[in-house]
């Protein structure tokens, strides 16, 4: 029995080591560049990191990222001027774009649309909601005053849970905790947690610790009361952060957005860029296969939509 227990334990250790090597050599794990909260209380990435983001258990999506000097994933550093045309894209993981090579991001496609006569600044960060985004615009007011157009990505069902901004120190602390550091350094662990092998374990631990994830609402799940509350939150955030809707557009998917909110935007002359209606008609898939983010084609469609809308505004 002793021999059995010892040998099996030894084999298990060897197995884990071998798998760790396999996972590293095949680069099956995804990298998550460290996060920070800067002096202006903006949550972003620590500048200067490069690496690869991986989705799917067989590396279905493999893309390179580059965290620029401003702390965002982009091929350029942001130096807005008052003379050139500049566009800012602000949003969550869809704008952060870890699902695409940073050299082929939505921002790059938008620059291509304008024949590289404009600079596009991508202020994307996985986990941002509208409060984060509007706070960022206010915090970097000096830069945003020089930027000509701002496109804010809004997922109505998930981005309007709060009406004021407070930096999420808890998330940064959690990600910097020893448990998460172990997960990030042991690539096998990073890999299997990403593909869902540890979901049951995580669920078990969460239930033991009494931690439940915040509910993610879809358009269909929202009741009228919630819709009204979200619209109120939107109004308050717009007022508190003094958002200039003569140069700010909301990029949204009308299929996932409350009709009441769309009517409100129309009434208040808040410009929206609706990609939902366009995606609906597309025959070619616009999303990645193992991920809900936009694929290359989807990003091309959206960049064209944004470009056309801005061009139209410029010609007004």
């Amino acid at each position: 029995m002793r021999k059995f227990v010892l040998k099996s334990s030894l084999f298990l250790i060897f197995l884990v080591v071998a798998l760790e090597i396999f996972v590293r050599v095949l680069h099956l794990y995804t990298e998550d560049p460290p996060r920070m909260i800067d002096d202006l209380l903006v949550e972003k990435r620590v500048p200067g990191h490069t690496g690869y983001a991986v989705t799917g258990n067989r590396r279905m999506n493999f893309s390179e990222f580059r965290i620029n000097a401003n702390g965002f994933n982009s091929h350029r550093d942001y130096k807005p001027s008052s003379t050139e045309l500049e566009i800012a894209l602000v949003g969550d993981s869809f704008i952060e774009g870890f699902h695409a090579d940073y050299t082929n991001s939505l921002g790059v496609k938008l620059e291509n649309f304008f024949n590289n006569s404009t600079e596009v600044y991508e202020y994307g960060y996985a986990g941002y909601d509208l409060a984060n985004q509007y706070h960022l615009i206010e915090a970097y007011k000096a830069d945003f005053d020089k930027i000509d157009f701002v496109v804010v990505y809004l997922d109505f069902a998930t981005d309007l849970h709060r009406s004021s901004y407070a930096p999420n120190h808890g998330r940064i602390d959690l990600l910097a905790s020893p448990l998460f550091k172990i997960r990030d350094n042991v690539k096998l662990l990073a890999y299997i947690s990403k593909i869902g092998v540890l979901d049951k374990v995580q669920g078990f631990v969460s239930s033991v610790l009494g931690r439940n994830q915040a509910p993610v609402n879809t358009k269909e799940e929202l009741d009228n009361e919630q819709v009204l509350e979200y619209i109120e939150n939107f109004k308050k955030l717009s007022e508190d952060f003094n958002i200039d809707y003569t140069k700010t557009f909301l990029l949204l998917d009308s299929r996932k957005t409350s009709d009441l909110f769309l009517k409100y935007c129309a009434k208040e002359n808040i410009p929206i860029i609706d990609f939902g209606a366009v995606f609906e008609k597309e025959q070619t898939p616009t999303d990645l296969v193992y991920d809900q983010h936009w694929n290359d084609y989807g990003r091309s469609v959206i960049s064209q939509l944004i470009g056309e809308q801005i061009k139209a505004r410029m010609s007004d």
């Binding site: 029995m1 021999k3 059995f4 040998k7 099996s8 084999f11 060897f14 197995l15 071998a18 798998l19 396999f22 099956l28 799917g56 258990n57 067989r58 279905m60 890999y191 299997i192 593909i195 869902g196 092998v197 979901d199 049951k200 374990v201 078990f204 898939p285 990645l288 296969v289 193992y290």
Partner: protein, 483 residues
């Protein structure tokens, strides 16, 4: 509790420690622990159905004792009681609605409309077909004086409920399992290692292959109207591998787990997809069930003795009953009947007993051309028959088959329902089939390489493949649980 669950990951080491380190001194205490562990394992699904196992256990325990003491007339009555209770449980929970529905439709055809208030909302208890057959075989063996009854109720309860094989077999015989439970068990290093190896192989088959193929098969069988002949055929082949890897994977984990507890279970699969005819397929597929039907139904009916007509009747009965055992649906009955039709030509030409103790390429590295053709032909027949097994109803099965043979659109590209690369699955299946060929001579030892480093590399690759094909969105339960 599922073998491939987080709960089992905690349950198994705990059970192992309690079994070998805490309650190992007295065999009766160890057996009591086995019963408790088994009831926890089963009760994890639905504790209410533990009462059925207990009733079945109690009845056959008492019947066993009474059978050994009774005279010939009373013996029959006691045996009838065992069969009545076990088949009664099975009939009510598994077949009641089927018979009511079929009768109602039949009456409807004759112009007598029946209200469907006769239908009941019955949940099928997991594994009922397995443990009722196991307990029945105990009483039948005592009746035929093959074994003596045990007076140790705890040991008998452990035999009926032994958790590794409780819900999906292998269906054990009392003559083989009960003596192992009655005697004191000693941990054997080699047996333990073999157990772990079989478990790894079983987990690989279930998690890397069966679960990975499930979404593809579900998609093709659900939307068969929109797919080309080539895709439909691929769906049937994939289902063949899915069900094989699902069920044989379960059996391997069961046999491996039992070994960890010092118990040997019978083999349930012996590389059935290398069979050279249907008769050989049935000697290699779900062996514990086919031998059960052979010993307790086919032979008592007269087997192949007597007139040719009687023998053919017996063949039909055994295959149809075997099909019906799988589920209360005409699809299973047709599946059984189809296998009977495929078996009969072999029986009539006396070739059903060929290839009894050999496997393809028995003495060579590669199989002969003749063997390859035979295997391919048998595989094709089995694959077509699986369509009945998988289809929702008989009409769909026939439509599916007819669409295959219409050769509509030939071979069209098929896209995974969630967009994964299909090439990965072809490579996986090809590699799996080739590996099964390498290990084809010993189903109890899938890693029979002399070189320890090579074995180690294979273990690592299998675990890596489990991760590479792990699909977090599939239903992880085993297909045969529904039977």
């Amino acid at each position: 509790m599922l073998f491939n669950s987080f709960e089992y990951l905690l349950f198994l080491p705990l059970a192992f420690i309690l079994y070998w380190f805490v309650f190992h001194r007295i065999v009766r205490i160890q057996n009591l622990l086995l019963v408790i562990l088994s009831y926890i394992f089963y009760g994890w699904w639905d504790w209410r159905f533990l009462s059925l196992i207990f009733v079945s256990t109690l009845v056959d325990y008492m019947v066993g004792i009474q059978l050994s003491a009774a005279n010939n007339k009373n013996k029959k009555a006691w045996l009838a009681l065992s069969i009545l209770v076990n088949l009664g449980l099975l009939g009510f929970f598994k077949y009641y609605n089927f018979f009511v529905d079929s009768f109602s439709k039949f009456a409807g055809e004759l112009g007598f409309a029946m209200q469907d208030t006769w239908m009941l909302n019955i949940i099928l208890p997991v594994g009922i077909s397995f443990y009722t057959f196991q307990t029945m075989s105990y009483s039948l063996d005592i009746y035929h004086n093959k074994i003596n009854p045990t007076k140790d109720f705890i040991a008998f309860a452990a035999y009926v409920s032994f958790f590794p094989q409780l819900v999906a077999g292998p269906i054990e015989r009392a003559s083989s399992l009960l003596p192992q439970i009655l005697k004191k068990r000693k941990f054997d290093y080699t047996q333990g290692v073999q157990g772990l190896r079989l478990m790894l192989w079983g987990f690989f088959k279930k998690m890397a292959i069966a679960d990975a193929l499930a979404p593809i098969v579900d998609d093709i069988f659900t939307n068969y109207h929109s797919y080309s002949s080539g895709t439909l055929f691929m769906g049937a082949v994939f289902f063949g591998f899915q069900i094989y890897c699902d069920f044989s994977g379960y059996s391997d984990i069961a046999i491996g787990t039992a070994k960890l507890f010092g118990v040997e279970l019978r083999s349930n699969f012996k590389f059935p997809y290398f069979s050279r005819n249907i008769a050989e397929f049935w000697r290699r597929w779900h062996i514990s069930l086919s031998t059960w039907f052979r010993d307790y139904l086919y032979i008592p009916l007269g087997g192949s003795y007597g007139s040719r007509a009687k023998a053919l009747r017996n063949i039909f009965i055994i295959f149809i009953v075997s099909g019906f055992w799988h589920g209360a649906n005409w699809t299973f009955i047709l599946w059984g009947a189809l296998h009977a039709l495929l078996f009969i030509p072999l029986f009539l030409t006396h070739s059903n007993r060929s290839n009894l103790d050999t496997i393809i390429g028995q003495y060579q590295l590669f199989p002969s051309i003749k063997e390859l053709v035979q295997v391919l032909f048998t595989f094709l027949l089995v694959t077509l028959s699986w369509i009945f097994f998988r289809a929702e109803n008989v009409g769909i099965a026939f439509e599916y088959i007819s669409q295959i043979f219409q050769f509509t659109d030939g071979v069209q590209p098929f896209y995974h329902p969630r967009g994964f690369r299909m090439e990965d699955y072809f490579i996986l299946l090809g590699a799996f089939y080739a590996y099964e060929y390498i290990i084809r001579k010993n189903e109890r030892n899938p890693f029979s390489f002399r070189s320890a480093p090579l074995r180690y590399v294979v273990y690592c690759i299998l675990v890596l493949l489990i991760f590479l094909f792990f699909d977090d969105q599939v239903d992880r339960s085993f297909i045969y649980f529904q039977f």
